[in-house]
Amino acid sequence: MGRLITLTVNGIRRSVEVKDNELLLDVLRDKLKVKSVKAACWRGECGLCTVILNGKLVKSCLVLAVEVDGSEILTVEGLAKDGELAPIQKAFIQHGALQCGFCTPAFVLASHKLLEENPTPSEDEIKERLSGLICRCGTYYEIIEAIKDASKYYQLGRKPR
């Protein structure tokens, strides 16, 4: 027995049949094939399944799919505009802010959201706001540098070269 839910994923309206006990994480990955959303701990600790749900960062392993009927979801696939990467994505590349890359979608998404809300975060604020995400390779230093660097584009609403 399933229900049909409709949600907007990265600007595209999609309908999908879900069971009441299915997690948003599993529906996004397995049914909607949004593979940037990573499944790792399944218990809200690592934060790698983070998506932006109706403008707020949430860990999709703790959200039921049925709950989000009618919602808007943004994942890292939706950040680039007209084929051009968002400033934060470029900054992650420039600073080599990743090693294995598994946590990168979540960190990029959370960093993007942070800079949108506060284009000039202090280092402490960056650390606090990203404290729900874990990078097992330990590239935190580079991630913080990338965020500080991308900061100027968010302040000016300007695109990086």
Binding site: N21, W42, V58, G132
Partner: protein, 292 residues
């Protein structure tokens, strides 16, 4: 399912999303023991994954308008609905200004992404020993409003939490609001948390003192040290009757570290927790009374 491991799936249940409180209470009255109420879901989804709870019905109260509100009236205090998230409370100017310990506890609870979903009422209903929310609430003498179809009860948070995952809530009742009294103008409070980077604190405490020159009321509440939040009433009395506050602080901290029932577990030994209680108490009271 991606990996097919049962741990990662949820037990089967029917999901309900009532639009009104009455509708939610009716659903709960019908299903009772077979149902669980969900607000943010952070606790319930995790419990269901571990099969600590396997309800046949999940009643989601997230979209019930009156439960999404925070109200403040001077003299009466705060009324926080069960669907209000910790992030919303963190951005509430009144809480930031008047309820210091509560604000500090929320800022230190879990992480900012979890706080976008987790609720303060959920925090209390989860009743896990290391959860931060109840500690400042008890220090402010807060009460939980509990509703069923034909009854409303107001229970002090300290009585509501009976033990780990054990609360004073009947199968047909919903914890709908938290009422936090308005702290008098001359009241000061603080919340301290000691952890080593993991989600589990080794010791937390909230201190709330009314009258910082001559204390009229003192609340010293500790979390993560026992099976439920505990007050150090003898230590409170030492502060209340003190002549020399600087000496009384050390005396009260020592007393608190002795009088509380403390657990020993893999995270910290009993002795270490007693030491932490003493240090937290000294730090909290020194900041409240502004002594060095």
């Amino acid at each position: 399912m991606s990996f097919g491991a049962p741990y990662f799936t949820l037990p089967e249940f029917t999901y309900h999303k009532p639009k009104t409180l009455k509708e939610a209470l009716e659903l709960l009255d019908t299903y009772r023991d077979e149902a669980k109420v969900m607000a943010g879901g952070v606790g319930l989804v995790a419990f269901m994954k571990e099969r600590l709870m396997s309800p046949s019905h999940v009643i989601d109260i997230k979209e019930i308008p009156e439960l999404k509100r925070v109200e403040y009236r001077e003299g009466a205090g705060l009324k926080i609905g069960a669907a209000v998230t910790l992030s919303e409370l963190e951005n509430n100017e009144i809480i930031k200004k008047k309820y210091t310990a509560l604000y500090q506890a929320i800022k230190k609870a879990a992480d900012p992404i979890i706080r976008n979903r987790a609720t303060l009422v959920g925090n209390i209903c989860e009743a896990l020993p290391w959860v931060d929310g109840p500690i400042p609430l008890i220090a402010y003498n807060a009460k939980v409003e509990v509703m069923s179809l034909n009854d409303v009860r107001l229970i002090p948070v300290s009585d509501f939490i009976k033990g780990p995952v054990e609360i004073d809530l009947a199968p047909n009742e919903i914890a709908t609001f938290i009422h936090v009294p308005d702290p008098p103008p001359e009241s000061k409070s603080t919340f301290l948390k000691f952890n080593t980077g993991s989600e589990f604190a080794l010791a937390t405490m909230a201190a709330h003192v009314v009258g910082s020159v001559k204390p009229k009321e003192v609340y010293l509440v500790y979390g993560a040290v026992s099976t439920k939040p505990v007050r150090a009433s003898e230590a409170e009395r030492i502060i209340l009757t003190s002549e020399n506050i600087k000496e009384a602080i050390v005396e009260a901290a020592t007393k608190a570290s002795q009088e509380i029932d403390v657990v020993s577990d893999v995270l910290a030994s009993e002795d270490y927790r007693r030491h932490l209680i003493k240090v937290l108490t000294i730090n909290a009271l020194k900041s409240i009374f502004e002594v060095s």
